[in-house]
Subunit: 297 residues, 2 copies
Protein backbone atom coordinates (compact mmCIF):
# COMPACT_ATOMS: atom_id res chain seq x y z
CA UNK A 1 0.00 0.00 0.00
CA UNK A 2 1.19 3.46 -0.84
CA UNK A 3 2.50 5.55 2.05
CA UNK A 4 0.06 8.35 3.07
CA UNK A 5 2.69 11.05 2.59
CA UNK A 6 3.41 9.90 -0.98
CA UNK A 7 -0.29 9.50 -1.67
CA UNK A 8 -0.93 13.12 -0.66
CA UNK A 9 1.93 14.47 -2.81
CA UNK A 10 0.69 12.49 -5.81
CA UNK A 11 -2.90 13.68 -5.35
CA UNK A 12 -1.77 17.30 -4.99
CA UNK A 13 0.46 17.02 -8.06
CA UNK A 14 -2.42 15.60 -10.13
CA UNK A 15 -4.72 18.39 -9.02
CA UNK A 16 -2.19 21.08 -9.89
CA UNK A 17 -1.67 19.56 -13.34
CA UNK A 18 -5.39 19.66 -14.05
CA UNK A 19 -5.59 23.26 -12.90
CA UNK A 20 -2.59 24.56 -14.74
CA UNK A 21 -2.17 23.02 -18.16
CA UNK A 22 -0.39 24.56 -21.10
CA UNK A 23 -2.91 27.37 -21.61
CA UNK A 24 -2.43 28.81 -18.13
CA UNK A 25 -0.43 32.04 -17.81
CA UNK A 26 3.05 30.59 -17.13
CA UNK A 27 3.87 32.81 -14.15
CA UNK A 28 0.60 31.90 -12.46
CA UNK A 29 1.47 28.22 -12.88
CA UNK A 30 4.91 28.84 -11.38
CA UNK A 31 3.58 30.89 -8.46
CA UNK A 32 1.05 28.18 -7.58
CA UNK A 33 3.73 25.49 -7.78
CA UNK A 34 6.05 27.61 -5.60
CA UNK A 35 3.33 27.97 -2.95
CA UNK A 36 2.33 24.32 -2.82
CA UNK A 37 5.52 22.36 -3.57
CA UNK A 38 7.41 21.20 -1.63
CA UNK A 39 4.95 21.40 1.20
CA UNK A 40 5.23 21.62 4.95
CA UNK A 41 4.28 18.71 7.19
CA UNK A 42 0.92 18.28 5.34
CA UNK A 43 -0.52 17.67 8.79
CA UNK A 44 -4.13 18.52 7.83
CA UNK A 45 -4.41 16.21 4.81
CA UNK A 46 -2.66 13.41 6.75
CA UNK A 47 -5.25 13.80 9.49
CA UNK A 48 -8.07 13.72 6.93
CA UNK A 49 -6.80 10.51 5.32
CA UNK A 50 -6.24 8.86 8.70
CA UNK A 51 -9.85 9.53 9.74
CA UNK A 52 -11.16 8.38 6.34
CA UNK A 53 -9.24 5.12 6.72
CA UNK A 54 -10.57 4.64 10.26
CA UNK A 55 -14.17 5.13 9.06
CA UNK A 56 -13.83 2.95 5.96
CA UNK A 57 -16.16 0.01 5.96
CA UNK A 58 -16.94 -2.26 2.99
CA UNK A 59 -13.77 -3.23 1.09
CA UNK A 60 -15.72 -3.23 -2.20
CA UNK A 61 -16.05 0.54 -2.14
CA UNK A 62 -12.49 1.13 -0.96
CA UNK A 63 -11.05 2.35 -4.28
CA UNK A 64 -13.86 4.83 -4.94
CA UNK A 65 -13.77 6.05 -1.36
CA UNK A 66 -10.00 6.56 -1.57
CA UNK A 67 -10.52 8.92 -4.51
CA UNK A 68 -13.01 10.96 -2.48
CA UNK A 69 -10.73 11.00 0.58
CA UNK A 70 -7.81 12.15 -1.57
CA UNK A 71 -9.94 14.98 -2.96
CA UNK A 72 -10.99 16.03 0.54
CA UNK A 73 -7.37 15.97 1.76
CA UNK A 74 -6.12 17.91 -1.26
CA UNK A 75 -8.84 20.55 -0.98
CA UNK A 76 -7.92 21.21 2.65
CA UNK A 77 -4.21 21.49 1.88
CA UNK A 78 -4.73 23.82 -1.10
CA UNK A 79 -6.88 26.13 1.02
CA UNK A 80 -4.22 26.09 3.72
CA UNK A 81 -1.58 27.06 1.12
CA UNK A 82 -3.85 29.81 -0.24
CA UNK A 83 -4.25 31.26 3.24
CA UNK A 84 -0.48 31.25 3.78
CA UNK A 85 0.12 33.17 0.54
CA UNK A 86 -2.43 35.85 1.42
CA UNK A 87 -1.37 36.04 5.10
CA UNK A 88 2.24 36.64 4.00
CA UNK A 89 1.28 39.65 1.82
CA UNK A 90 2.78 43.04 2.71
CA UNK A 91 -0.60 44.32 3.93
CA UNK A 92 -0.72 41.50 6.52
CA UNK A 93 2.42 39.85 7.90
CA UNK A 94 4.79 41.10 5.20
CA UNK A 95 6.71 37.84 5.59
CA UNK A 96 9.79 37.36 3.46
CA UNK A 97 10.16 33.60 3.91
CA UNK A 98 7.86 30.60 4.09
CA UNK A 99 8.87 26.94 4.29
CA UNK A 100 12.47 28.08 3.92
CA UNK A 101 11.89 29.82 0.56
CA UNK A 102 10.98 33.39 -0.40
CA UNK A 103 7.28 34.05 0.14
CA UNK A 104 5.19 34.09 -3.06
CA UNK A 105 4.91 37.88 -3.27
CA UNK A 106 8.69 38.25 -2.94
CA UNK A 107 9.35 35.62 -5.59
CA UNK A 108 6.58 36.59 -8.06
CA UNK A 109 5.25 39.98 -6.98
CA UNK A 110 2.06 40.98 -5.19
CA UNK A 111 -0.32 40.60 -8.15
CA UNK A 112 0.60 36.94 -8.65
CA UNK A 113 0.50 36.35 -4.90
CA UNK A 114 -3.09 37.60 -4.76
CA UNK A 115 -4.05 35.62 -7.86
CA UNK A 116 -2.32 32.36 -6.95
CA UNK A 117 -4.17 32.43 -3.62
CA UNK A 118 -7.45 33.03 -5.43
CA UNK A 119 -6.70 30.27 -7.93
CA UNK A 120 -5.93 27.80 -5.15
CA UNK A 121 -9.21 28.56 -3.37
CA UNK A 122 -11.09 27.80 -6.57
CA UNK A 123 -8.95 24.75 -7.32
CA UNK A 124 -9.75 23.31 -3.90
CA UNK A 125 -13.49 23.38 -4.59
CA UNK A 126 -12.95 21.99 -8.08
CA UNK A 127 -10.86 19.12 -6.71
CA UNK A 128 -13.63 18.27 -4.27
CA UNK A 129 -16.30 18.41 -6.97
CA UNK A 130 -14.35 16.14 -9.31
CA UNK A 131 -13.22 13.70 -6.64
CA UNK A 132 -16.68 13.24 -5.14
CA UNK A 133 -18.59 13.22 -8.45
CA UNK A 134 -19.38 9.52 -8.05
CA UNK A 135 -21.00 10.17 -4.65
CA UNK A 136 -22.83 13.48 -5.07
CA UNK A 137 -24.61 13.11 -1.72
CA UNK A 138 -21.25 13.07 0.04
CA UNK A 139 -20.20 16.05 -2.06
CA UNK A 140 -23.01 18.10 -0.51
CA UNK A 141 -21.70 17.38 2.99
CA UNK A 142 -18.03 17.85 2.05
CA UNK A 143 -18.70 21.17 0.35
CA UNK A 144 -20.65 22.40 3.35
CA UNK A 145 -17.91 21.45 5.83
CA UNK A 146 -15.16 22.96 3.69
CA UNK A 147 -17.05 26.20 3.05
CA UNK A 148 -17.73 26.73 6.74
CA UNK A 149 -14.10 26.01 7.62
CA UNK A 150 -12.77 28.59 5.20
CA UNK A 151 -15.32 31.37 4.77
CA UNK A 152 -17.27 33.78 6.95
CA UNK A 153 -18.28 33.89 9.76
CA UNK A 154 -16.21 31.10 11.41
CA UNK A 155 -13.58 30.00 8.90
CA UNK A 156 -9.95 30.91 8.26
CA UNK A 157 -10.79 34.01 6.22
CA UNK A 158 -12.88 35.34 9.12
CA UNK A 159 -10.06 34.36 11.49
CA UNK A 160 -7.61 36.47 9.54
CA UNK A 161 -10.15 39.32 9.44
CA UNK A 162 -10.20 39.42 13.27
CA UNK A 163 -6.69 40.88 12.94
CA UNK A 164 -8.34 43.98 11.40
CA UNK A 165 -10.56 44.53 14.46
CA UNK A 166 -9.77 46.62 17.53
CA UNK A 167 -11.17 44.06 19.97
CA UNK A 168 -10.14 40.46 19.39
CA UNK A 169 -11.31 37.44 21.38
CA UNK A 170 -8.25 35.10 21.50
CA UNK A 171 -10.35 31.93 21.48
CA UNK A 172 -12.57 32.96 18.56
CA UNK A 173 -9.59 34.25 16.59
CA UNK A 174 -7.64 31.01 16.95
CA UNK A 175 -10.66 28.74 16.49
CA UNK A 176 -11.41 30.45 13.20
CA UNK A 177 -7.86 30.91 11.98
CA UNK A 178 -6.38 27.53 12.88
CA UNK A 179 -8.95 25.28 14.48
CA UNK A 180 -11.51 25.44 11.71
CA UNK A 181 -9.31 23.72 9.11
CA UNK A 182 -8.31 20.96 11.53
CA UNK A 183 -11.96 20.32 12.41
CA UNK A 184 -12.70 20.26 8.67
CA UNK A 185 -9.91 17.70 8.18
CA UNK A 186 -11.43 15.20 10.61
CA UNK A 187 -15.04 15.86 9.57
CA UNK A 188 -14.24 15.64 5.87
CA UNK A 189 -12.32 12.41 6.43
CA UNK A 190 -15.47 10.91 7.94
CA UNK A 191 -17.79 12.40 5.31
CA UNK A 192 -15.54 11.16 2.50
CA UNK A 193 -16.01 7.62 3.84
CA UNK A 194 -19.78 8.10 4.02
CA UNK A 195 -19.80 8.24 7.84
CA UNK A 196 -21.65 10.81 9.94
CA UNK A 197 -19.19 13.66 10.34
CA UNK A 198 -20.62 15.56 13.32
CA UNK A 199 -18.96 13.40 15.98
CA UNK A 200 -15.55 14.07 14.43
CA UNK A 201 -15.39 17.82 15.01
CA UNK A 202 -14.04 17.45 18.56
CA UNK A 203 -10.94 15.53 17.45
CA UNK A 204 -10.05 18.21 14.90
CA UNK A 205 -10.74 20.97 17.43
CA UNK A 206 -8.36 19.42 19.99
CA UNK A 207 -5.59 18.83 17.49
CA UNK A 208 -6.06 22.30 16.04
CA UNK A 209 -5.79 23.93 19.46
CA UNK A 210 -2.70 21.89 20.26
CA UNK A 211 -1.16 22.82 16.93
CA UNK A 212 -1.86 26.51 17.54
CA UNK A 213 -0.15 26.39 20.94
CA UNK A 214 2.83 24.54 19.43
CA UNK A 215 3.01 27.25 16.75
CA UNK A 216 2.89 29.98 19.40
CA UNK A 217 5.70 28.30 21.36
CA UNK A 218 7.83 28.08 18.21
CA UNK A 219 7.10 31.72 17.40
CA UNK A 220 8.71 32.83 20.66
CA UNK A 221 11.49 30.23 20.87
CA UNK A 222 12.48 28.66 17.54
CA UNK A 223 15.43 29.31 15.24
CA UNK A 224 14.00 31.02 12.12
CA UNK A 225 16.31 29.08 9.76
CA UNK A 226 15.16 25.74 11.15
CA UNK A 227 11.53 26.89 11.14
CA UNK A 228 11.67 28.20 7.55
CA UNK A 229 9.75 31.37 8.43
CA UNK A 230 10.32 34.44 10.62
CA UNK A 231 9.87 34.20 14.41
CA UNK A 232 8.66 36.73 16.98
CA UNK A 233 5.90 37.75 14.59
CA UNK A 234 3.04 37.62 17.08
CA UNK A 235 4.66 40.16 19.36
CA UNK A 236 5.85 42.46 16.58
CA UNK A 237 2.42 42.35 14.91
CA UNK A 238 0.55 42.72 18.21
CA UNK A 239 -1.16 39.37 17.75
CA UNK A 240 -2.42 37.04 20.47
CA UNK A 241 0.04 34.31 21.50
CA UNK A 242 -0.60 31.55 24.03
CA UNK A 243 2.86 31.95 25.64
CA UNK A 244 2.21 35.65 26.24
CA UNK A 245 -1.18 34.75 27.70
CA UNK A 246 -0.44 31.61 29.77
CA UNK A 247 3.36 31.62 30.09
CA UNK A 248 5.67 28.92 28.73
CA UNK A 249 4.88 26.41 31.49
CA UNK A 250 1.14 26.99 31.22
CA UNK A 251 1.33 26.61 27.44
CA UNK A 252 3.25 23.34 27.48
CA UNK A 253 0.85 21.92 30.09
CA UNK A 254 -2.11 22.87 27.89
CA UNK A 255 -0.39 21.33 24.90
CA UNK A 256 0.06 17.95 26.61
CA UNK A 257 -3.53 18.00 27.93
CA UNK A 258 -4.86 18.67 24.44
CA UNK A 259 -2.92 15.75 22.93
CA UNK A 260 -4.29 13.37 25.56
CA UNK A 261 -7.76 14.86 25.21
CA UNK A 262 -7.71 14.41 21.44
CA UNK A 263 -7.31 10.64 21.68
CA UNK A 264 -10.24 10.44 24.10
CA UNK A 265 -12.63 12.14 21.67
CA UNK A 266 -12.21 9.62 18.83
CA UNK A 267 -15.66 8.17 18.10
CA UNK A 268 -16.35 4.45 17.68
CA UNK A 269 -15.38 3.36 14.15
CA UNK A 270 -13.97 0.26 12.43
CA UNK A 271 -10.36 1.45 12.61
CA UNK A 272 -10.39 3.21 15.99
CA UNK A 273 -7.43 1.41 17.57
CA UNK A 274 -5.14 2.09 14.61
CA UNK A 275 -6.26 5.75 14.45
CA UNK A 276 -5.42 6.25 18.13
CA UNK A 277 -1.86 5.10 17.39
CA UNK A 278 -1.58 7.32 14.32
CA UNK A 279 -2.81 10.39 16.19
CA UNK A 280 -0.37 9.75 19.04
CA UNK A 281 2.57 9.39 16.64
CA UNK A 282 1.59 12.35 14.45
CA UNK A 283 0.96 14.61 17.45
CA UNK A 284 4.32 13.68 18.84
CA UNK A 285 5.93 14.46 15.48
CA UNK A 286 4.57 17.99 15.16
CA UNK A 287 4.75 18.84 18.85
CA UNK A 288 8.08 17.41 19.90
CA UNK A 289 9.87 20.33 18.30
CA UNK A 290 7.80 22.81 20.27
CA UNK A 291 8.23 20.89 23.53
CA UNK A 292 12.02 20.66 23.02
CA UNK A 293 12.14 24.38 22.44
CA UNK A 294 9.95 25.10 25.44
CA UNK A 295 12.27 23.03 27.63
CA UNK A 296 15.34 24.78 26.25
CA UNK A 297 13.78 28.25 26.68
Amino acid sequence: MIDPAQRIELAIQNTLEQGNGRHCPPLLTQAIEHAVMPGGARVRPRLCLAVAAACAGDANTAQQDAVIADAAAVSIELLHCASLIHDDLPCFDDASTRRGKPSVHLAYGEPLAVLSGDALIVMAFQALGRGAATQPQRLVALLDILGRAVGAPHGIVAGQAWECEQNVDLARYQDAKTGSLFAAATMMGAAAAGADHHAWAALGDCIGSAYQIADDILDVSADPTELGKPVGRDESLGRPNAVAEYGMQGSTRKLRELIDGAIATIPACPGRARLCEVIAVESQRFMSHALDRATAA
Copy 2:
Protein backbone atom coordinates in the same frame (compact mmCIF):
# COMPACT_ATOMS: atom_id res chain seq x y z
CA MET B 1 -44.46 36.47 -10.17
CA ILE B 2 -41.48 38.21 -8.66
CA ASP B 3 -39.41 40.40 -11.00
CA PRO B 4 -36.00 38.82 -11.86
CA ALA B 5 -34.10 41.90 -10.62
CA GLN B 6 -35.83 41.76 -7.21
CA ARG B 7 -35.41 38.01 -7.09
CA ILE B 8 -31.64 38.33 -7.57
CA GLU B 9 -31.29 41.02 -4.89
CA LEU B 10 -33.27 38.92 -2.42
CA ALA B 11 -31.23 35.82 -3.14
CA ILE B 12 -27.96 37.73 -2.76
CA GLN B 13 -29.15 39.32 0.48
CA ASN B 14 -30.10 35.92 1.91
CA THR B 15 -26.72 34.49 0.98
CA LEU B 16 -24.85 37.37 2.59
CA GLU B 17 -26.87 36.99 5.78
CA GLN B 18 -25.98 33.30 6.03
CA GLY B 19 -22.32 34.08 5.43
CA ASN B 20 -22.01 36.97 7.83
CA GLY B 21 -24.02 36.47 10.98
CA ARG B 22 -23.33 38.06 14.33
CA HIS B 23 -20.10 36.17 14.97
CA CYS B 24 -18.40 37.50 11.86
CA PRO B 25 -15.71 40.17 12.32
CA PRO B 26 -17.85 43.33 11.85
CA LEU B 27 -15.53 45.06 9.40
CA LEU B 28 -15.42 41.99 7.18
CA THR B 29 -19.22 41.97 7.10
CA GLN B 30 -19.25 45.65 6.17
CA ALA B 31 -16.58 45.28 3.48
CA ILE B 32 -18.49 42.40 1.86
CA GLU B 33 -21.74 44.38 1.96
CA HIS B 34 -19.97 47.40 0.47
CA ALA B 35 -18.65 45.28 -2.41
CA VAL B 36 -21.90 43.55 -3.25
CA MET B 37 -24.64 46.08 -2.42
CA PRO B 38 -25.98 47.98 -4.27
CA GLY B 39 -24.83 46.09 -7.32
CA GLY B 40 -24.22 47.01 -10.91
CA ALA B 41 -26.50 45.81 -13.69
CA ARG B 42 -26.35 42.20 -12.38
CA VAL B 43 -26.16 41.22 -16.04
CA ARG B 44 -24.60 37.78 -15.43
CA PRO B 45 -27.15 36.52 -12.87
CA ARG B 46 -30.01 37.91 -14.99
CA LEU B 47 -28.69 35.93 -17.94
CA CYS B 48 -28.40 32.80 -15.79
CA LEU B 49 -32.01 33.06 -14.57
CA ALA B 50 -33.30 33.79 -18.07
CA VAL B 51 -31.67 30.63 -19.45
CA ALA B 52 -32.90 28.56 -16.48
CA ALA B 53 -36.46 29.78 -17.12
CA ALA B 54 -36.15 28.96 -20.82
CA CYS B 55 -34.97 25.41 -20.03
CA ALA B 56 -37.55 24.78 -17.29
CA GLY B 57 -39.82 21.87 -18.00
CA ASP B 58 -42.21 20.17 -15.57
CA ALA B 59 -44.15 22.69 -13.48
CA ASN B 60 -44.07 20.29 -10.49
CA THR B 61 -40.37 20.81 -10.01
CA ALA B 62 -40.51 24.56 -10.64
CA GLN B 63 -40.06 25.68 -7.03
CA GLN B 64 -37.11 23.42 -6.32
CA ASP B 65 -35.50 24.33 -9.64
CA ALA B 66 -35.91 28.03 -8.87
CA VAL B 67 -33.88 27.59 -5.68
CA ILE B 68 -31.09 25.95 -7.66
CA ALA B 69 -31.20 28.63 -10.36
CA ASP B 70 -31.06 31.35 -7.70
CA ALA B 71 -28.00 29.70 -6.15
CA ALA B 72 -26.30 29.48 -9.55
CA ALA B 73 -27.07 33.13 -10.30
CA VAL B 74 -25.87 34.29 -6.87
CA SER B 75 -22.65 32.29 -7.08
CA ILE B 76 -21.78 33.90 -10.41
CA GLU B 77 -22.48 37.40 -9.14
CA LEU B 78 -20.49 36.92 -5.92
CA LEU B 79 -17.50 35.70 -7.89
CA HIS B 80 -17.82 38.68 -10.19
CA CYS B 81 -17.84 41.02 -7.17
CA ALA B 82 -14.82 39.21 -5.69
CA SER B 83 -12.89 39.70 -8.92
CA LEU B 84 -13.73 43.41 -8.97
CA ILE B 85 -12.43 43.89 -5.40
CA HIS B 86 -9.13 42.16 -6.17
CA ASP B 87 -8.75 43.81 -9.61
CA ASP B 88 -9.15 47.24 -7.97
CA LEU B 89 -6.31 46.62 -5.47
CA PRO B 90 -3.28 48.94 -5.60
CA CYS B 91 -1.10 46.14 -7.03
CA PHE B 92 -3.46 45.83 -10.03
CA ASP B 93 -5.61 48.73 -11.26
CA ASP B 94 -5.32 50.86 -8.11
CA ALA B 95 -8.88 52.06 -8.78
CA SER B 96 -10.33 54.57 -6.38
CA THR B 97 -13.98 54.18 -7.35
CA ARG B 98 -16.29 51.33 -8.30
CA ARG B 99 -20.02 51.56 -8.96
CA GLY B 100 -19.86 55.21 -7.95
CA LYS B 101 -18.44 54.49 -4.47
CA PRO B 102 -14.92 54.24 -3.07
CA SER B 103 -13.33 50.91 -3.97
CA VAL B 104 -13.21 48.40 -1.10
CA HIS B 105 -9.52 48.93 -0.31
CA LEU B 106 -10.03 52.68 -0.10
CA ALA B 107 -13.05 52.32 2.16
CA TYR B 108 -11.76 49.48 4.38
CA GLY B 109 -8.04 49.10 3.69
CA GLU B 110 -6.11 46.54 1.71
CA PRO B 111 -6.27 43.68 4.25
CA LEU B 112 -10.08 43.69 4.26
CA ALA B 113 -10.16 44.08 0.47
CA VAL B 114 -8.08 40.91 0.07
CA LEU B 115 -10.16 39.06 2.68
CA SER B 116 -13.59 40.18 1.49
CA GLY B 117 -12.65 38.94 -2.00
CA ASP B 118 -11.52 35.62 -0.55
CA ALA B 119 -14.67 35.35 1.56
CA LEU B 120 -16.88 36.00 -1.48
CA ILE B 121 -15.15 33.28 -3.51
CA VAL B 122 -15.83 30.80 -0.73
CA MET B 123 -19.39 32.08 -0.21
CA ALA B 124 -20.14 31.54 -3.89
CA PHE B 125 -19.27 27.85 -3.69
CA GLN B 126 -21.19 27.51 -0.42
CA ALA B 127 -24.27 29.11 -1.95
CA LEU B 128 -24.12 26.65 -4.81
CA GLY B 129 -23.72 23.67 -2.49
CA ARG B 130 -26.66 24.69 -0.31
CA GLY B 131 -28.93 25.68 -3.17
CA ALA B 132 -28.38 22.49 -5.15
CA ALA B 133 -28.35 20.12 -2.15
CA THR B 134 -31.67 18.61 -3.24
CA GLN B 135 -30.24 17.74 -6.66
CA PRO B 136 -26.66 16.64 -5.96
CA GLN B 137 -26.18 15.36 -9.51
CA ARG B 138 -26.77 18.86 -10.81
CA LEU B 139 -24.42 20.20 -8.16
CA VAL B 140 -21.59 18.17 -9.70
CA ALA B 141 -22.15 19.84 -13.09
CA LEU B 142 -22.68 23.32 -11.63
CA LEU B 143 -19.54 23.13 -9.53
CA ASP B 144 -17.51 21.99 -12.52
CA ILE B 145 -18.77 24.83 -14.74
CA LEU B 146 -18.23 27.46 -12.06
CA GLY B 147 -14.74 26.25 -11.14
CA ARG B 148 -13.60 26.28 -14.77
CA ALA B 149 -15.04 29.77 -15.29
CA VAL B 150 -13.19 31.23 -12.34
CA GLY B 151 -9.96 29.31 -11.79
CA ALA B 152 -6.91 28.31 -13.78
CA PRO B 153 -6.20 27.80 -16.64
CA HIS B 154 -9.16 29.45 -18.45
CA GLY B 155 -11.18 31.34 -15.84
CA ILE B 156 -11.24 34.94 -14.61
CA VAL B 157 -8.32 34.48 -12.22
CA ALA B 158 -6.17 33.21 -15.11
CA GLY B 159 -7.48 36.10 -17.23
CA GLN B 160 -6.28 38.60 -14.66
CA ALA B 161 -2.94 36.76 -14.45
CA TRP B 162 -2.34 37.35 -18.17
CA GLU B 163 -1.82 41.00 -17.16
CA CYS B 164 1.36 39.84 -15.38
CA GLU B 165 2.82 38.30 -18.56
CA GLN B 166 5.04 40.01 -21.13
CA ASN B 167 3.23 38.49 -24.11
CA VAL B 168 -0.56 38.61 -23.97
CA ASP B 169 -2.94 37.16 -26.53
CA LEU B 170 -5.90 39.60 -26.62
CA ALA B 171 -8.46 36.89 -27.43
CA ARG B 172 -7.32 34.50 -24.69
CA TYR B 173 -7.06 37.33 -22.15
CA GLN B 174 -10.58 38.58 -22.79
CA ASP B 175 -12.10 35.10 -23.10
CA ALA B 176 -10.72 34.22 -19.69
CA LYS B 177 -11.27 37.54 -17.96
CA THR B 178 -14.76 38.38 -19.21
CA GLY B 179 -16.11 35.66 -21.48
CA SER B 180 -15.71 32.80 -19.04
CA LEU B 181 -18.20 34.13 -16.50
CA PHE B 182 -20.80 34.87 -19.18
CA ALA B 183 -20.43 31.37 -20.60
CA ALA B 184 -20.80 30.05 -17.05
CA ALA B 185 -23.99 32.10 -16.63
CA THR B 186 -25.73 30.48 -19.59
CA MET B 187 -24.37 26.98 -18.94
CA MET B 188 -25.24 27.11 -15.24
CA GLY B 189 -28.74 28.36 -16.07
CA ALA B 190 -29.24 25.24 -18.18
CA ALA B 191 -27.58 22.91 -15.66
CA ALA B 192 -29.67 24.36 -12.82
CA ALA B 193 -32.80 23.35 -14.76
CA GLY B 194 -31.43 19.85 -15.32
CA ALA B 195 -30.79 20.47 -19.05
CA ASP B 196 -27.61 19.57 -20.93
CA HIS B 197 -25.40 22.63 -20.57
CA HIS B 198 -22.86 22.13 -23.34
CA ALA B 199 -24.99 23.68 -26.08
CA TRP B 200 -25.36 26.87 -24.04
CA ALA B 201 -21.71 27.94 -23.99
CA ALA B 202 -21.93 29.72 -27.36
CA LEU B 203 -24.65 32.11 -26.17
CA GLY B 204 -22.60 33.15 -23.15
CA ASP B 205 -19.47 33.48 -25.26
CA CYS B 206 -21.21 35.84 -27.73
CA ILE B 207 -22.73 38.00 -25.01
CA GLY B 208 -19.46 38.06 -23.08
CA SER B 209 -17.52 39.21 -26.13
CA ALA B 210 -20.13 41.88 -26.85
CA TYR B 211 -20.01 43.03 -23.25
CA GLN B 212 -16.21 43.25 -23.35
CA ILE B 213 -16.31 45.42 -26.46
CA ALA B 214 -18.98 47.65 -24.89
CA ASP B 215 -16.77 47.98 -21.82
CA ASP B 216 -13.76 48.87 -23.98
CA ILE B 217 -15.80 51.55 -25.81
CA LEU B 218 -16.92 53.03 -22.49
CA ASP B 219 -13.34 53.00 -21.20
CA VAL B 220 -12.24 55.30 -24.01
CA SER B 221 -15.39 57.46 -24.29
CA ALA B 222 -17.55 57.53 -21.14
CA ASP B 223 -17.95 60.14 -18.42
CA PRO B 224 -16.34 58.64 -15.27
CA THR B 225 -19.06 60.09 -13.00
CA GLU B 226 -21.83 58.47 -15.03
CA LEU B 227 -19.88 55.21 -15.30
CA GLY B 228 -19.09 55.07 -11.56
CA LYS B 229 -15.46 54.05 -12.15
CA PRO B 230 -12.36 55.60 -13.73
CA VAL B 231 -12.01 55.72 -17.55
CA GLY B 232 -8.95 55.53 -19.81
CA ARG B 233 -7.62 52.71 -17.65
CA ASP B 234 -6.75 50.32 -20.46
CA GLU B 235 -4.41 52.80 -22.11
CA SER B 236 -2.81 54.01 -18.87
CA LEU B 237 -2.31 50.42 -17.68
CA GLY B 238 -1.11 49.21 -21.08
CA ARG B 239 -3.97 46.76 -21.38
CA PRO B 240 -5.57 45.47 -24.58
CA ASN B 241 -8.64 47.42 -25.71
CA ALA B 242 -10.83 46.61 -28.72
CA VAL B 243 -11.08 50.28 -29.78
CA ALA B 244 -7.28 50.55 -29.86
CA GLU B 245 -7.15 47.33 -31.88
CA TYR B 246 -10.10 47.69 -34.29
CA GLY B 247 -10.96 51.40 -34.13
CA MET B 248 -14.28 52.83 -32.93
CA GLN B 249 -16.18 51.95 -36.12
CA GLY B 250 -14.78 48.45 -36.24
CA SER B 251 -15.63 47.94 -32.59
CA THR B 252 -19.25 49.09 -32.90
CA ARG B 253 -19.71 46.90 -35.98
CA LYS B 254 -18.35 43.90 -34.07
CA LEU B 255 -20.63 44.73 -31.14
CA ARG B 256 -23.77 44.70 -33.31
CA GLU B 257 -22.72 41.48 -35.06
CA LEU B 258 -22.20 39.77 -31.71
CA ILE B 259 -25.64 40.76 -30.46
CA ASP B 260 -27.28 39.37 -33.59
CA GLY B 261 -25.08 36.28 -33.45
CA ALA B 262 -25.99 35.62 -29.81
CA ILE B 263 -29.69 35.21 -30.61
CA ALA B 264 -28.88 32.77 -33.40
CA THR B 265 -26.99 30.44 -31.05
CA ILE B 266 -29.87 29.82 -28.63
CA PRO B 267 -30.55 26.05 -28.59
CA ALA B 268 -34.02 24.53 -28.85
CA CYS B 269 -35.76 24.66 -25.45
CA PRO B 270 -39.30 25.08 -24.07
CA GLY B 271 -38.98 28.85 -23.61
CA ARG B 272 -36.84 29.72 -26.63
CA ALA B 273 -39.07 32.45 -28.10
CA ARG B 274 -39.33 34.33 -24.81
CA LEU B 275 -35.58 34.01 -24.21
CA CYS B 276 -34.83 35.53 -27.63
CA GLU B 277 -36.86 38.58 -26.63
CA VAL B 278 -35.18 38.84 -23.22
CA ILE B 279 -31.69 38.62 -24.74
CA ALA B 280 -32.53 41.29 -27.31
CA VAL B 281 -33.88 43.66 -24.64
CA GLU B 282 -31.07 43.01 -22.14
CA SER B 283 -28.36 43.36 -24.78
CA GLN B 284 -29.89 46.63 -25.87
CA ARG B 285 -29.95 47.79 -22.25
CA PHE B 286 -26.28 47.20 -21.51
CA MET B 287 -25.03 48.14 -24.95
CA SER B 288 -27.03 51.21 -25.78
CA HIS B 289 -24.86 53.31 -23.52
CA ALA B 290 -21.72 52.17 -25.34
CA LEU B 291 -23.28 52.71 -28.77
CA ASP B 292 -24.46 56.22 -27.82
CA ARG B 293 -20.98 57.04 -26.63
CA ALA B 294 -19.39 55.58 -29.74
CA THR B 295 -21.65 57.75 -31.93
CA ALA B 296 -20.84 60.85 -29.88
CA ALA B 297 -17.09 60.16 -29.95
